[in-house]
Structure formats: structure tokens, C-alpha cells
Symmetry: D2
């Protein structure tokens, strides 16, 4: 059972650039996270993008969609910025691809103290292997289907949109 | 959907006692971990034990079994030392309790750099909500049934015993 | 021997604001850092400002100068953003206050992985107690007098300006 | 101005061995710490020993003494376990070597959360460059001469023995 991990950036992968004092992208932290988590699942990493999800445009989402449709694996994890994670989930969900796809990210970068990154990664990978085909968002310890998930910006949490 | 979290100790909850330089138990780190992980699942913590799983005796396992059988929730997480996690899983599994029970722990304490604790917690909580009733071990990104899991001490990983 | 610690902000005290994804100021991390460092020196903390040193204006520096001149202690530590640390040091140095004053900060926030904050704090506090009266900058493991220090922005290090 | 850093082990350099769950020695963390601290001082590392200071015997201290006497540098840092740090300091101090020697360590390993290691390293390196020749212990933000320092085991701090 192989899993494809599509990396697109988002808060989870930002690092502190000490030259300008900004949180930016350099390289993904997933190789380090995978080693630390001692994962025994066969995981194929693929870095598609390394961008803020507010900067994601149609062509970026098209790229993600293509890779979901065309990669050989039936289990797909996607790292994603939280601001437009639900939009990408919806785009993928409406295509009714016959695969299990779980999107996740974090509210605090992996490289910053007190990050939720590793927890969300664990939750996403654990549930990916058990879910029916479909598109889901795994955040805050919950796994929600693309058709019923939204980010509550005031609380900083993901919740059912039928909430 | 409520989840009961039964805390029993193990490596995941050890801390560094600077008076004697030993890794010991003081209090559980789960309240801090739950806050950090920004969990939105209704999680009831219950500290049953705070011991090394090599020191766990029959009466300790009986206590865990009783709490699994008698607590109101149908979804139960159990933190556990890795050395005898599979033994406790087997004891619980053979009782055929009609609940979903997932055991997890970590190879490196939460309080030590580079810990796998948060990842395993995420994996356990995510899969708990999706699994059929039964008893499982969630470690190394995999969720394995009690009847087919063992700790490979040489590699420091959990694997199917039919491996 | 009492030490006054004047807190003014800078990179060292920034934290990650998950609502907007920016590094900002909330409250100082020094109470936590002092506890962690197990300091036995009599240290009086005073939060003067909590700002980026690029935003520091004349009236801010005047406030720092006043507190240096008017506080009872002869040993003074000042936390400061790195961008204008040398400017403030020069202003204080030219006043020839008969006290020992050491400025420090960090290139990476205390709240971000791999921070140099604790190291610089230790270097500043250790040297403060040994230096002749005057104004100094303690960064990169070196203690440099206000009259011969500059930030090399390309390298991200402090060096003698006569370098 | 060159500094020699003699590494001997102690709590500061222990790491968590996940095979047996013990805090042990593997390799020194100082290359990582030096990089993180962004040190611009010319620092020559030399790993003499990697042992618990309770296991240190006469021949080990003789080795440290020899290296202090025979290395070319006049500024020497020594990392050391806290339990017998004052004994080694006394042995070196009584030899009246005409160099500046500062011993330090930490109460919590660098590899464990909330460590004082980086702070003590900064304090030791900062003060080393300012002290008169002699032998000192830099712990808890204080720099104490070998002839007037002891570890208070109840409090877990170093203090003047004339206290």
C-alpha cells in the first residue's frame, strides 16, 4: 500500500528567514518530519509547489488535480495552506476521482515552537488508510469531507460547514 | 462523539528529572499536547497510571480492562509504554469488547527533542474515529489490529507479527 | 549585585501570531527564559517597549537613555532589535554614563526553532558582570564596545566597524 | 584570540537512546550548538572524553589538566558534568596555570526540552574573554572562581562555598 504525499507549501512548511525576519519558504521540512515520526508506511514525496495558499491560482490547483488523477497511488496526502484548503478540497471533490485524498496543514509552522504540524500529519496519514474514496480535510483531530468543511477564521479551526 | 483518553504512562510521558538525571514520571503532558494540537474532538482525559510498561503487572492491566469495559464512551485511546503495548492490546482484544480501542505511545518522550509523540497521537486519534470496533495499535504511521502486531526491538518499530 | 534588564522588543521577543501568520509582539519571553536558564543573579525586569527596532524613534531611545541614567543599578542589560542596536548603543555610549550597559538580541526569535536567543542572553549577562563601565554589544559570542561595532547585514553578524 | 573548547561529556551532551530508553552519550552536540549560536569567535573544538562526571577518574582529570597546560591557546572552555565540576576546577586551579579556564555544563541536556545548555555556553564564552587568568565555573548566570564554588545538590545550583 503506497501513499503519495503531494507537497504544496502553506504555513506548515514556512521557515524563519533571518536575513529579512520574514516567514518564507526555502525547502520542505517533510523529509525531516517523516524521519522523526519513524514512519513505516511506503510514502512517496513529491514537491509540487511551495507557496502560500493565498497565492494559489487556478493553474496551481490544476496541477494538484492533475497529479491526483494521474499518479499511480490510490492514497494521496496533500499538504496545503489553511486559508484556501477547503477551496482546493472542493475542486478535487467535485471531480469524483476514485481515490482517497486527505488534505492537511498546520496553524503554526513546523519550524516554530508549539507547532501542530506533526499531529496533523499523523492524523491525516492514519485516517487516509481507513477512509472510503473521496476528498477530506484532516485538521484539529477531525477528518471532515470536502462537502462539509470550512475554516472558521475567528476561532482558527476547521469545522463542518453545516455547523 | 466523545473519546475517552486513558493515560497509563510509558516513554511518551517521561520527563527529565534534573535532580537525579533520570527520565521519570511527574505529571502527564497530555493537557499541553491537546492544547498544542488544537483538538476539536470531545476528549475526556483520565490518568489511570503513570508507569513504565515494563513495570506493569496483572492488576494494572485489569484496571485498564475495567475502564475500557465500564466507561460510557465507545471510542477509547490508551497511552502505553512500547515494551508491553502488544501484550495489553492482546488482553483487551481477546475480551471482544464492543468498542473501538487504539493504543499508542512513542519511542522518544514528548519532552525530549525530536519526539514522535505528537505524530503518534494524531495518527491514533484520526484512525480511532474511522475504525470498526476492535483493539488496535497505532505506531509508525500504521494502524495494526491486536491480533497481528509485534514490536521489533532491533528496529524499534511496530510491525505485523505475520510479517 | 543587582542587574536591571530593560526589555525593548526586537526579533528575540517576537512570537508567531497564528491568526494572521505574522511574527509579532505579544508579551516578553524573558520570564520563561530566566526560569529556564536557572539564573541566580538578582535580575530586575522592566518592559520599556515591545517594538521592532526599525520602528524605534527618538522618543523611544530617549526613554531607554533615561532609564539607564535614572535606575539605581550599575549593571544594565538591554534587549534590542538587531537592525538599530548599534545606533542605540552609540547614543548611550556618547553620554558617558558611569554604568556598565550591555545590549543584546537575537537573529532568530526565542519562539522559533534553532534560536540563538538563550546563548546571547548568557553571553550578555556573563560579560556584564566583568566589564568596565561603558556601553557594549554582545552578539555572536563576542562583546564589542559601542564605538567599534556594526551589523554586517550581508553576513547577519555583528563585527568591529574597524574590521 | 583563539579559544580552545575541551569537551568531556556530562549532562549537557547526553542524548536519548531510544533502543534502551536511557540518556547516554553518542556524539557531542557542540558543532550544532556553535552553528546555532552563530559564534564568530575562533573556537577550536577538542573532544577529550564523553563521560558522566561521576565516572571521571584520576587519569581523566590528568588528561584534562595536560590539555590545559599543553594546548597553545590561553583561553580554554571545558564542558563538564555538574556533579564533579568543582573537583576538576579545584585540581586545575591549584596548578596555577597561567591561562583563563572556564568550566560549564548544564542541568538539563541540550537534547531535552527546556535545556539551560545554550545559556550556560554563552555565559561561559562571554566571560572567558574578559576574566583574569585563573579557573572559574560559569553556571546559573554567575561566574565563580574555583576556590569559592560548590554545587548545592538540594537546590540544583552552583553557589559560592563561602555562602
Amino acid at each position: 500500500m503506497k501513499v503519495r504525499l503531494l507537497i504544496t507549501g502553506g504555513t506548515i512548511d514556512k521557515f524563519y528567514n533571518q536575513s529579512n525576519g520574514e516567514l518564507e519558504f526555502d525547502k520542505t521540512h517533510f523529509p525531516e518530519m517523516i524521519k522523526r515520526a519513524r514512519i513505516e508506511v511506503d510514502l512517496i514525496q513529491e514537491e509540487l509547489l511551495l507557496i502560500d495558499s493565498l497565492d494559489m491560482v487556478d493553474i496551481d490547483r490544476q496541477l494538484i488535480l492533475d497529479r491526483c488523477e494521474n499518479s499511480a497511488e490510490e492514497l494521496i496526502l496533500i499538504t496545503h495552506g489553511t486559508d484556501t484548503m477547503c477551496d482546493t478540497a472542493k475542486l478535487l471533490g467535485e471531480r469524483e476521482i476514485n481515490k482517497t485524498i486527505v488534505l492537511f496543514g498546520s496553524m503554526v509552522p513546523y519550524a516554530v515552537n508549539n507547532s501542530d504540524a506533526l499531529f496533523n500529519f499523523g492524523c491525516a496519514l492514519g485516517s487516509l488508510q481507513l477512509l472510503e474514496p473521496g476528498v477530506y480535510v484532516a485538521m484539529n483531530g477531525r477528518v471532515l469531507p470536502w462537502s462539509d468543511v470550512e475554516k472558521n477564521r475567528d476561532l482558527g479551526v476547521f469545522q463542518p460547514s453545516s455547523h
